[in-house]
């Protein structure tokens, strides 16, 4: 069953992946060789041979076949390769200093996994979630936590938790780590929040069991979150949500391309697309159906969306999915629009309400056919994104223009930490500069307001054909001068004096072709220069 779907997807992607045909064939060959052994064997083989393109291809096209046990290996391998671990980002560089947002983290963590029925599982998940977020924030104090980041991190925690849970010795967290956890909390002289206290207790219960496997997995989990945060979520973690709003603006842009009529009807040219905020900031994880037991999450669409983002290295995926969702629900949206037009105080409220009502992600995500086609569409559209048109809508250091751009290549794009941190620093500076700007003013700013040099650069960037004409004419000039020098040996008489004289003679007259009679022609610019050189030229007669 999955194989059939998988092959269909392959066919659809045949052209999308440009140049990937041989890899595709190789993949099919490998996959059929493994037939009967299942995807686990295939992934294992790719992992041992470090065949990253193959793994990427697998994650892109076959995520339905992945269990969470496989998924975490694939995610770790891909994310670790995208931002290789260096000495600088080793775990020991974590600063013990409390991050300013930790209280907010605790508030949100204590409200996570709320529907889970297994209480001890819930506590352990929360402890792990909190530990991961705080670790990230302490290691990168320049990052700001946003409500919703905890939803994204919880997706990773769930993927890694699954396997650990089946392991009878899961409870064991190393004694040192428990101590570290307690120490760091104690040094702040703060009230120990229940979540942390519980984590510490959980540590206490099971410290006798040593399980290196778990420690290893936790390191991998942290590396995944670290890499994902820095490469994909940076934009949301400056001091404000301005760059997140910039990303949201891509949704109306995409809808306009897909369905200009709907774009007009929903007034998307005039209103801010805040309705999509929670789905984009949390990559749909906030609005998914709350799960009562962990087993039911195994085939959650959220994991497939993350598979696609991590393998395509593109944060356009959630934006495209959202835009596709809106367009695919056009008929219902228009109906709701008519029904509710008088039910809200203003248009932005109404559009927010009807879009959120129609796009109840949790119901759509229950419909397997619907989301399968959504993912396929997203994959195709992602490869069609043209950055040329998007620059100017986003800040130049945005993840959408740097580290999570839609790539057409099958090779993984690799980034190093200093580069990423530099990008983030620049985003912080720019964010500070644009703080008082509205979203539209920001776009003008990105489009070249930074300096006149940039403005010129942007102009040429936008009008490449004009630039070509300039280049050609410059080339012609140089060519002409060269010929002249070669011919005369000097530049003195580059332009014949007589030519100027003739020009002067004809100035102000043209041949009226209909009567072959010479008629006075008045240069419209003459008024401007009237006072000086050309005062002898009469004013424009009104009949002209």
């Amino acid at each position: 069953m999955t194989d059939i779907i998988f092959n269909k997807q392959l066919l659809r992607n045949r052209n999308v992946l440009g140049g990937g045909r041989s890899l595709e064939e190789k993949f099919l060959l490998h996959y059929s060789e493994m037939n009967g052994k299942g995807p686990a064997a295939f992934v294992q083989k790719s992992l041992t041979s470090r065949d990253l393109p193959m793994l990427k291809y697998f994650a892109m096209n076959n995520s339905g076949d992945m269990t969470n046990a496989l998924r975490k290996e694939v995610w770790y391998t891909l994310l670790n390769a995208q931002l290789p671990s260096t000495k600088m980002n080793d775990a020991d560089s974590i600063k013990p200093k409390k991050h300013k947002d930790e209280d907010q983290v605790v508030l949100d963590v204590n409200r996570s996994f709320g529907a889970l029925k297994n209480l001890s599982q819930k506590e352990r998940l929360r402890a792990l979630l909190q530990k991961m977020i705080i670790k990230i924030l302490r290691k990168y104090p320049q990052l700001n936590y946003y409500q919703g980041y905890h939803d994204v991190v919880s997706v990773f925690v769930l993927v890694f938790f699954e396997r650990l849970n089946k392991n009878p010795t899961f409870h064991s967290i190393k004694r040192e780590e428990c101590n570290l956890l307690n120490e760091t909390m104690d040094t702040d002289n703060d009230v120990i929040e229940p979540g942390i206290a519980n984590a510490a207790e959980t540590c206490g219960d099971a410290i006798d069991e040593k399980d290196t496997k778990f420690v290893l997995d936790e390191t991998k989990l942290f590396r995944c979150i670290e890499s994902f945060t820095l490469l994909y979520l940076r934009d949301f973690m400056t001091d404000s949500l301005d760059f997140a709003v910039d990303q949201l603006k891509m949704i109306p842009y995409l809808i306009k391309k897909m369905d200009p009529e709907l774009y007009q009807i929903l007034h998307l040219d005039k209103i801010e697309p805040f309705f999509a905020l929670s789905d984009i900031l949390t990559i749909f994880s906030h609005n998914q159906k709350p799960y009562e037991d962990i087993g039911s999450t195994e085939h959650s669409i959220i994991f497939f969306i993350f598979d696609l983002i991590i393998s395509t290295q593109s944060m356009y995926i959630p934006l495209i999915i959202y835009a596709n969702l809106v367009v695919s629900k056009k008929a219902t949206l228009l109906m709701e629009y008519d029904l509710n037009v008088a039910n809200f105080e203003n248009i932005p409220d109404m559009v927010h309400a009807i879009i959120q009502k129609v796009i109840l992600t949790q119901t759509i995500f229950d419909d397997e056919n619907c989301w399968r086609s959504l993912l396929t569409e997203a994959k195709i559209n992602n490869s069609l994104i043209d950055l040329k048109h998007i620059r100017g809508m986003l800040n130049p250091y945005s993840v959408l223009l740097t580290t999570s751009v839609s790539h057409h290549q099958l090779e993984l794009q690799v980034y190093d930490l200093p580069y990423i941190l530099e990008l983030f620093d620049k985003e912080v500076v720019l964010n500070e500069k644009c703080k008082s700007f509205s979203a539209n003013d920001r776009q003008l700013f990105y489009q070249g307001g930074r300096s006149s040099y940039n403005r010129i650069f942007y102009f040429f960037e936008k009008h490449k054909t004009i630039f070509l004409i300039y280049k050609l004419s410059l080339f012609l000039l140089v060519f002409a001068i060269t010929v002249k020098i070669l011919k005369d040996g000097h530049l003195k008489k580059l332009v014949a004096r007589t030519y100027f004289q003739r020009l002067h003679h004809y100035y102000g007259t043209i041949i009226d072709s209909s009567s072959t009679r010479k008629r006075l022609w008045v240069d419209p610019l003459s008024r401007l220069f009237k006072s000086a050189k050309y005062s002898h030229i009469p004013d424009i007669p009104s009949s002209l």
Binding site: G114, Q147, L241, V245, F274, N343, I347, A353, Q356
Partner: protein, 219 residues
């Protein structure tokens, strides 16, 4: 979101915003009022969500459309966009956390800066069930409320104490303001954008319209 959110069976539509620090219980106050539900582990609100409930005040059906907002500071620029057209607001703090009370000043300022001038405001000290952890004395909050001409109630979304009352007080205050202006102006209000469809349409001014006119005619 229930179906009532989108129905037309009402005489007036009041937009109300629910603001205050993160974790003070805004979402639970709302769910207690609209669906009589409470969930101690309800998810954090990301961005803005809304719910409605129609109640009867002085024989009129009033649909309260309540917009619940994220409490984290960085969301303020976004949530304040939803203050537009609100006729009422509830600023919520947690009686067991003094910090959330101290921030009410900021929230009030935020509201005055971004909402319409004559928005009716209520101050709510939530989590009154946590009496043993009380950090904000009732008298102090009451003073603050009267100084700033705010309605004031202490509530508990957990045991539903005073929740209905707090919302009702606010809605009644708005209604009285609206009906007073209605008499003053003799306005027949036919603003299609907010007036309800149905038999009441020609008789019922929209809160929005009254509000707009009132700023020039009254006080």
């Amino acid at each position: 979101m229930n179906n009532e959110d989108y129905g037309y069976d009402y005489d007036y539509l009041f937009k109300i915003v629910l603001i205050g620090d993160s974790g003070v219980g805004k979402s639970n106050l709302l769910s207690r009022f609209t669906t009589n539900e409470f969930n101690i582990e309800s998810k954090s609100t990301i961005g803005v969500e809304f719910a409605t409930r129609t109640i009867e005040v002085e024989g009129k059906k009033i649909k309260a459309q309540i917009w619940d907002t994220a409490g984290q500071e960085r969301y303020r620029a976004i949530t304040s966009a939803y203050y537009r057209g609100a006729v009422g607001a509830l600023i919520v703090y947690d009686i067991s956390k003094s910090g959330t009370y101290e921030n009410c000043n900021h929230w009030l300022k935020e509201l005055r800066d971004n909402a319409d001038d004559n928005v009716a405001v209520g101050l709510i000290g939530n989590k009154s069930d946590l009496a043993h952890l009380r950090a904000v004395p009732t008298a102090e909050a009451k003073n603050f409320a009267s100084e700033n001409e705010l309605l004031f109630t202490e509530t508990s979304a957990l045991n539903s104490e005073n929740v209905d009352q707090a919302f009702r007080e606010l809605i009644t205050a708005i209604y009285q303001m609206v009906s007073k202006h209605q008499v003053d102006l003799g306005d027949s209000g036919n603003n299609a954008a907010a007036a309800p469809k149905g038999p009441t349409i020609s008789l019922t001014p929209t809160p929005n319209e009254n509000k707009k006119s009132s700023s020039s005619n009254c006080c």
